[in-house]
Symmetry: C2
Subunit: 213 residues, 2 copies
C-alpha cells in the first residue's frame, strides 16, 4: 500500500473531508490547513500571510471569505498591509516554508491535501516515487455551490462566484510554482467526480483503491 | 447501477480490454470497432473510410498502422482514393452514421468504447443522463509504448511516435465534432491511470465502481 497519499481538489468538491476520512480508515496521519500553521511556526511568517500567498488571492472579498471563518480571532492588520506589498521572493519564501514542512511529514504514512504536495514530493530526492499516490477530486458545479453555501453560510450568488474564482487561484498558484498543470490527468493516479457516488461512497471507493496499491 | 458505460481511452492504455472485461463482469453488451462495421452497413460507407475519417488521420504510416491489422484482407483501393478528396460533409456523414449506430445501442445495458459516445449520449434527448457513466482511461507513457510494441509488433521508435500521434488525432476528432474537450475531467465521472494498479486490478476497481452507481 502506498505510504504517501496526496489529494488535490476543486473548491467545494468535498476533497478535504474525503481525505480526512480516508486517513482515518487507513490509520494514516492527515494534513491540510495544519501545514499552514506548521510552516508559519518554522518560518516566522504569519498563517494569514501564508494562506493568502499560497492561493495567489488578490481580491478582498475572497480573502475575507477564505480567512474569515478559519482565522476568525486573529488580527490581520499588519499582515494585510504586508500582503499589499507582496513580492515574488516573499511568495517563494512561503512556498519554501510549506515545502520544508511537507517533506518533513513523509517518514510516517500520511494523507496530504493541497499545497502542491504532489509536485513537491514527486520532485524530491528523499521520497521514493513508488511510495507516492496522487488523487484529484472534483465535483459537479451545482454540488460545489451547494456545499459552499452550507459550509460558509453564503448566499447562492456569492457561492457561485467563489466556486468559479477559488479554483482559478489554486491553478494559478500551482502553475506558477511547478512545471506541471493543476488538474492535468498525467500527474495523478486517479481523478474522481465526488458527485457521482456521493461523499461517503467516494471515500469507500478511494480507500479500497489505495489498499490495492 | 448505470446502464450505459462509455470508455474514452488513450492509445495503448489498455482501455479496450478493460472495457471488454468490465462488460463481461457486468453481463453488458460491448461495442468498440463493432460500431464501425454497424455504421458502415447502415450508411453504405466503407469501414476503412469510416475508421480513417473518425480518427482524422492524415498520414499514410498511421493509416497503415491502424488499419493494417484490423482490416487486413479488405481491399481499400477505391476507398483510399475517396479519402484523398475527403470533405467536411463526408466527415459529417461518418459522424452521423456512427451517432445513429450508438443511439440504437442504448436499449440494452452496454459498454461503448470511443467514438465520441459520451458526447453523443450526453446530448441526446432519448438517453436519460442518469443512466450514463463516463470513464476515461490513461496510462504512463512507457507502458503505452510497451503495449503498442507488443500488440502491433512494432519497434520502439515507431511505437513512441504512434503513442504520441494517435491521441492527437483522437483529441482533434473529438474536439472538432463536439463542444467539449477530449480528456477534460468535467465530462467524465472517473479518470484512472491503468499503470497504477495494472490492467487486472483496474478492471476490478472499475467494475466495483460501476456497481456502486
Amino acid at each position: 500500500m502506498k505510504k504517501i497519499i496526496t489529494i488535490s481538489r476543486e473548491y467545494g468538491s468535498g476533497g478535504r473531508i474525503i481525505g480526512k476520512k480516508i486517513a482515518e480508515n487507513l490509520g494514516y496521519n492527515f494534513y491540510d490547513r495544519e501545514i499552514i500553521d506548521m510552516a508559519a511556526e518554522d518560518s516566522g511568517l504569519s498563517p494569514e500571510f501564508i494562506e493568502k500567498t499560497e492561493q495567489n488571492i488578490s481580491s478582498g472579498w475572497l480573502y475575507n471569505l477564505l480567512l474569515g471563518t478559519s482565522y476568525a480571532g486573529t488580527t490581520a492588520g499588519a499582515t494585510t498591509q504586508q500582503i499589499g506589498t507582496q513580492s515574488l521572493p516573499l511568495a517563494d519564501q512561503v512556498f519554501n516554508a510549506e515545502r520544508k514542512t511537507i517533506l518533513s511529514l513523509t517518514d510516517k504514512p500520511s494523507v496530504i491535501v493541497g499545497r502542491c504536495a504532489d509536485y513537491i514530493l514527486r520532485t524530491s530526492d528523499t521520497v521514493d516515487s513508488k511510495d507516492l499516490l496522487n488523487i484529484f477530486i472534483y465535483a459537479d458545479f451545482d454540488d460545489k455551490v451547494k456545499r459552499i453555501m452550507e459550509r460558509q453560510s453564503m448566499d447562492e450568488k456569492a457561492a457561485r462566484k467563489a466556486v468559479q474564482q477559488v479554483d482559478k487561484c489554486r491553478a494559478n498558484h500551482y502553475n506558477t510554482f511547478t512545471e506541471d498543470t493543476w488538474g492535468d490527468r498525467k500527474i495523478y493516479d486517479l481523478l474522481v467526480n465526488s458527485s457521482t457516488l456521493g461523499i461517503d461512497q467516494t471515500i469507500e471507493m478511494l480507500t479500497a483503491f489505495i489498499q490495492k496499491t
